[in-house]
Symmetry: C2
Subunit: 146 residues, 2 copies
Amino acid sequence: MVINQGTDYAFRIVFFLAKHKHRIVEAIEISSREEIPERFLFKIMRSLVKAGIVKSYRGKNGGFTLGREPKDITLNDVLEAIEGPVTVNACLRDASKCTKDASGYCVIHRRLAQLRWDIVEKLKAVDFETLVKEERILLEGLMKGR
Amino acid sequence: MVINQGTDYAFRIVFFLAKHKHRIVEAIEISSREEIPERFLFKIMRSLVKAGIVKSYRGKNGGFTLGREPKDITLNDVLEAIEGPVTVNACLRDASKCTKDASGYCVIHRRLAQLRWDIVEKLKAVDFETLVKEERILLEGLMKGR
DNA sequence: TAAAAGTATACTAAAAGAGTATAGTTTAAG
DNA sequence: CTTAAACTATACTCTTTTAGTATACTTTTA
């Protein structure tokens, strides 16, 4: 599994905030609209806040907004904030587990390193402004279709 | 993590057998050369045999060979034999976990489905004949380099 | 017919994943 | 100036997966 549940939720959270970028949204709203357990959402939020992806407002009338423009947040940013860099196998994450050689003699290692790079590039290529626009177009298409 | 330890070992096992495709190789040889716990290797072997990637010979002088030509075995074949199809997130594996919609309204879902497809294509593009040749070229390069 | 191979099933310890609980701190409003 | 509505911090727990092990076979060849 490339992405864990926390990251999957985080994608939806950031997407939701991107669609409501002009107001402060409180946890309970995101949690109920996106069907994420509230306590778990707070846990995810702390990672997103720490990474600067989300900004939090405490106290009454508090809540969350994005920490920067949707176009400057990618799927990879969110994934890294929650679970650290994508890993393909143990050997690529931790060179000490690579009995063969992290050093470049192992052709399988090379292919997996390449795959990791490809995955990260794909994730970096998707930003949340694009996703919001994409959804808008998709929904308009569905409206006309009826 | 895209690939678990068993799959990682399986790549090395198949690669080893591809490099020794003209003889029957016994478990203990693979296990010691590739530093894979012997009992664990047998477990992996059963999946590879069941998938037709490896052929086994029982009894004295028994061992393993590839079940078909190295060029007809890809990284994706081996991965699927060990841990089933690549999954990107829970929602893509099990539609019932997709609260939004497996049906195509969710732009994030679409991107992750696309990513999954890309990963599988990359893994299908690498066969073991190519890897064996690649290693040969790499090692020749290193010899000259000295 | 015995020893050297692989086979089958089931078990287990450790780690990761997913979520929960408890006890805070901050802030706006009255 | 206090109360209630927000978020924060740390730690805990339950479940599933991962990685590997144990025990008791079956097959084959010398």
